[in-house]
Symmetry: C2
Subunit: 142 residues, 2 copies
Amino acid sequence: MDKETIFNQFKEQGLKITKACNALLKILEKNRLPLAEVELRAKLSALGIVVNKTTIYRQLTHLKKINLIREVDFGDGKKRFELNTDDCQRHHHHIICTNCKKVEEIYVNDDVKQIELEISRNKKFKVTSHSLEFFGLCKNCK
Amino acid sequence: MDKETIFNQFKEQGLKITKACNALLKILEKNRLPLAEVELRAKLSALGIVVNKTTIYRQLTHLKKINLIREVDFGDGKKRFELNTDDCQRHHHHIICTNCKKVEEIYVNDDVKQIELEISRNKKFKVTSHSLEFFGLCKNCK
DNA sequence: ATGCATGCAAAATGTTTGCATTATA
DNA sequence: TATAATGCAAACATTTTGCATGCAT
């Protein structure tokens, strides 16, 4: 999504593009792995932008509402967010080492889209997103 | 897994088979959908077995350790558990309505096992489990 | 000037821990 | 009777809310 479109989406929702919001987007663009609130805030701080955690959560709520980011769950009780890549070629999944917690992005030739279509047909269920993460032991930990 | 095997697994770990533990297993066998602590406790209560939430969490820890149950994440900040069906024909996934929260079990002809093999080969990563859940709007909510 | 964004504190939610007590093998 | 299981309260971690204040358009 280009800057222009993003800007318009924000205006439509009556939202303002603030420093924190801008920086958050930049950070999410630069980092390929999903980040939790603590990490996002640390990275903002590193850029000299110190904000309260509440602000982070609220901005994430906005960005999620306009579908710019999506939530990724690694099953450790933290919400993580990454740029939404559902509809482009950068769509990917993750492998998470349950020992050292290292996360790697993977691009697999998946048929999940196909499965989503089947579900729509058979179950009359409109699928808007899916989770597909792999858990196990990385090279070093296994 | 038959009762005998389960019993032995427990003994190996130095665990005792208590009323709560037995009832938990029965509940998980009867209910096809993943249940969170609150739900499990309610169902135990309905059976006349009133336990503290701490007990639930501790039993779940045990059951998870011997791989009898697995954690399923619906992204709402609660841990849910279901009997582990990874290695049998009852292996399944879920579709979750993000509006009314209804959950349905689905059996899809997935290639996830295939993807896991690829990951093992290419990434030298031993995959032990995966998550694959679908989110969207159910018949009534869409 | 209006209304969204922010910071702060407090509340809410879900999970875990420490310790004294009870029950099981 | 030794050891695990339990209950309870408190600690913990994460996320959300209420309200007063500041900032952008």
